[in-house]
């Protein structure tokens, strides 16, 4: 077997986050000589998923300042709890993004045949948290009707509100043609809520329903972006089966896709080295000389790496909580013939939580509840991923939201929190950089739903590596490998 330093590599990919991994998948049939390294001992970069033990190692690194765009990470376990299972029974995702059915990521996973090794689960209902009107009442969750049938059958909103919702849905599905275009264009860069209020006469509650469907982190989404997000949601409904608009890869979301993509890279001949980063690079005469942290020096025509410099944009703060309840009522299929959902989304609109000092929450909090069917926790437990924009109060607000959510659970006893992981993720540069022989990916989006713009830099990097040999029609389009499908592949 040839040594690393004797080879002139066509490309060295550093990092196994989603984008780098998808690049490895895209190049997996190219016959290029690929060395794929990662300074981490795990796959997935900013999209990784961890056992409890690995989470601890990651937290130690992040709090020691070597967590890249992650910082202020900590773990809290109530003393003396025995409710947690073995470390490996958990797979906590750093970026638990849901993927809308119309996402190009899914069509690329299908055309590249990588989807065969991933299990996808349905993302079910979206809920809004309703604080109690009086202190004697319990807070509750209201399900957002997001199909025409649901709007029709819901008892949560008035007949007038139903008409408004129907009208809006119809509008959004064809919002880019006339006469709809003329209605919203004057509002394009204004807040979506302005359009909803002025053109659709929606009250604050209905506006919140609509804005929640966009999963906007600051709740202040523009009309242009908001309409696109809602159309994506509505048009994704029913694509892969009745009753759901988005899906989630089992065992930790995008982490699983990164691993599957890297395996495809390996099957195609790429060499994989975890725990190996770049110490120094030196570019000369169209070649990059890279000194690896392992001590080896390698030469490559191109280097592709992750961008991890923070930007001035607001970051997010997350709280990942393992709780001792299966939360069955959240994960019921609401449409006949629908697969049982494994994920539910609960939004706490801005202002719906008040801090100890009586201050109302400034930004929305989103809680993504994952059942044990995601493989992220053992049976009879659930994992809750809470996200809000980073403010000085963010940690406290997330804990308030968690408590408030637990207060809405009416089945059995109030569930106990077995484990809390908190961390901050900084926003990074949203632009890729392409120098002569070095391509740098942008930082991952902090959005709660997979953003298709993530795929563009992967395509750019692919074109750069392939050069004249790039055939657009072949991008991410592969036949099944030998053995993947056999003669009598009976699904019994």
């Amino acid at each position: 077997m040839e040594s690393l330093s004797d080879t002139l590599w066509d490309v060295v990919i550093c990092g196994t986050g989603l984008q780098q991994s998808l690049l490895a998948l895209a190049l997996s049939r190219s016959d290029k000589k690929i060395l794929h390294i990662d300074p981490n001992e795990f796959y997935g970069g900013a999209e990784a998923a961890f056992s409890l033990q690995d989470t601890e190692l990651w937290v130690n690194r992040a709090s020691a300042g070597s967590g890249g765009l992650f910082k202020s990470a900590s773990i809290a376990k109530p003393e003396g709890t025995t409710g947690l299972s073995a470390s490996r029974a958990y797979s906590l995702a750093l970026a638990p993004q849901l993927i809308h059915a119309r996402s190009t990521l899914l069509s690329q996973l299908v055309s590249s045949r990588a989807y065969r090794q991933v299990e996808f689960l349905a993302v079910g209902s979206f809920y809004i948290f309703k604080p109690p009107q009086e202190s004697s009442q319990r807070p509750s969750l209201a399900r957002i009707p997001s199909t025409r049938e649901e709007v029709f059958s819901t008892t949560a909103v008035s007949a007038k509100a139903k008409r408004l919702l129907m009208k809006f849905m119809k509008f959004v599905l064809d919002y880019e043609s006339s006469p709809q275009l003329e209605v919203w264009q004057p509002f394009a860069d204004a807040l979506l809520t302005d359009l909803l209020q002025q053109e659709f006469k929606m009250d604050a509650e209905l506006q919140t329903y609509i804005v929640t469907l966009t999963l906007s982190l600051d709740g202040k989404i523009s009309t242009k972006d908001g309409l696109a997000a809602i159309r994506r949601h509505l048009s994704s409904m029913g694509v892969y089966g009745p009753g759901f608009a988005a899906i989630y890869p089992k065992w930790g979301g995008l982490s699983e896709i990164a691993q599957v993509a890297c395996r495809a890279g390996a099957v195609g001949g790429a060499v994989y080295m975890l725990g190996t980063g770049i110490k120094e690079t030196e570019t000369a005469e169209g070649e990059v000389k890279i000194q690896l942290t392992s001590g080896d020096t390698v030469k490559t025509r191109m280097l592709v790496r992750a961008g991890d410099s923070a930007s001035d944009e607001m970051g997010i703060t997350r709280l990942v909580a393992v709780i001792g309840s299966p939360l069955n009522s959240l994960f019921e299929a609401v449409v006949e013939g629908a697969p049982r959902p494994a994920v539910a989304v609960i939004a706490f609109p801005a202002g719906s939580l008040s801090t100890v000092s009586g201050k109302a929450s400034e930004y929305p909090v989103y809680l993504s509840a994952h059942s044990s069917d995601t493989g992220e926790c053992p049976a009879h437990q659930s994992v809750l991923y809470l996200t809000t924009l980073s403010t000085p109060d963010a940690n406290a607000t997330l804990n308030l939201a968690l408590d408030a959510f637990l207060g809405t659970i009416t089945e059995g006893q109030a569930p106990s929190v077995l484990y809390r992981l908190q961390y901050e993720q900084l926003a990074g540069s949203q632009r890729s950089q392409s120098e002569a022989s070095i391509f740098t990916f942008p930082a991952p989006f902090l959005s709660l739903s997979f953003n298709d713009s993530t795929l563009q830099p992967v395509h750019e990097a692919w074109k750069k590596v392939m050069g004249d040999a790039a055939v657009e029609a072949d991008y991410m389009t592969f036949a099944d490998r030998e053995g993947a499908v056999d003669d009598d592949d009976v699904y019994e």
Binding site: Y115, F120, E149, K170, R263, E482
Partner: protein, 233 residues
């Protein structure tokens, strides 16, 4: 080896290969799947996994055999490789003692990473390079390692004792001659508890609890470009 008589229950089993580079992992599989052997085979490239059926008296096991794709070279196998594996073939080269040390490392890794009930077979390959093997059909057990012209460096005794301690199936094989190869897979098929089997599914499918079936979203279904736009407005 198809049996066209009464249909027997058929189960899909994910089997992962482990072992040091160049011990013959892929060759063993090639022998089992295609009854073929290639001298001086290049390191594994190009196969995601292979499938082969194994007919038992009462059921059919369809092995989905996953190769490391070289990711073992720098200890960079992903958790998804081990996930839901019901069987593992840990291979060493019985002419190379260090490969047995490596094999023990992989057994420990499997005990750490894989499902608790996984069936592990320890396989000493390249028996054709020893004086006792070579596919003569002779009894591999009890063969001496000191015979002249014998490249064997790991005694049957040593590996067998280790396998017994760890509760592993144990075989010495030759992918080159085919000696004992089918036997390994048949023994694994027999060792998989009936309770952990379910009916065949697509390649790459998982083998967890049955109720997940009703939940899986199939991306390969008819993705109708004109699918009802959400609410059929």
């Amino acid at each position: 080896m198809a049996d066209s008589n009464t249909p027997k229950p058929s189960s899909s089993v994910k089997l992962v290969l482990l072992g040091e580079a160049a011990v013959g992992k892929s060759s063993l599989v090639l022998r089992f799947v295609n009854n073929d052997f290639q001298e001086n085979k290049e390191p594994t490239i190009g196969a995601a996994f292979l499938t082969q059926k194994c007919n038992l008296p009462t059921r059919t096991i369809k092995f989905e055999i996953w190769d490391t794709a070289g990711q073992e070279r720098f200890a960079s196998l992903a958790p998804m490789y081990y996930r839901n594996a019901q069987a593992a073939l840990v291979v060493y080269d019985l002419t190379k003692p260090t490969s047995l040390i490596k094999a023990k490392h992989w057994v420990a890794e499997l005990q750490r990473q894989a499902s608790p009930g996984i069936v592990i077979a320890l396989v000493g390959n390249k028996l054709d390079l020893t004086s006792d093997g070579a596919g003569s059909g002779g009894d591999a057990d009890g063969a001496g390692a000191e015979d002249s012209g014998d490249a064997r460096k790991v005694t049957t005794e040593e590996a067998k004792t280790y396998a017994e301690e760890e509760g592993l199936l144990f075989f010495e094989t030759s992918a080159k001659t085919g000696y004992n190869v089918t036997e390994v897979f048949t023994a694994i098929a027999n060792a998989i508890p009936e309770t952990s089997l379910k009916t065949a599914r697509g390649p790459g499918a998982s083998h967890t609890a049955g109720r997940t079936e009703e939940q899986r979203v199939n991306l390969n279904g008819p993705r109708d470009p004109n699918a009802k736009e959400g609410c059929a407005c």
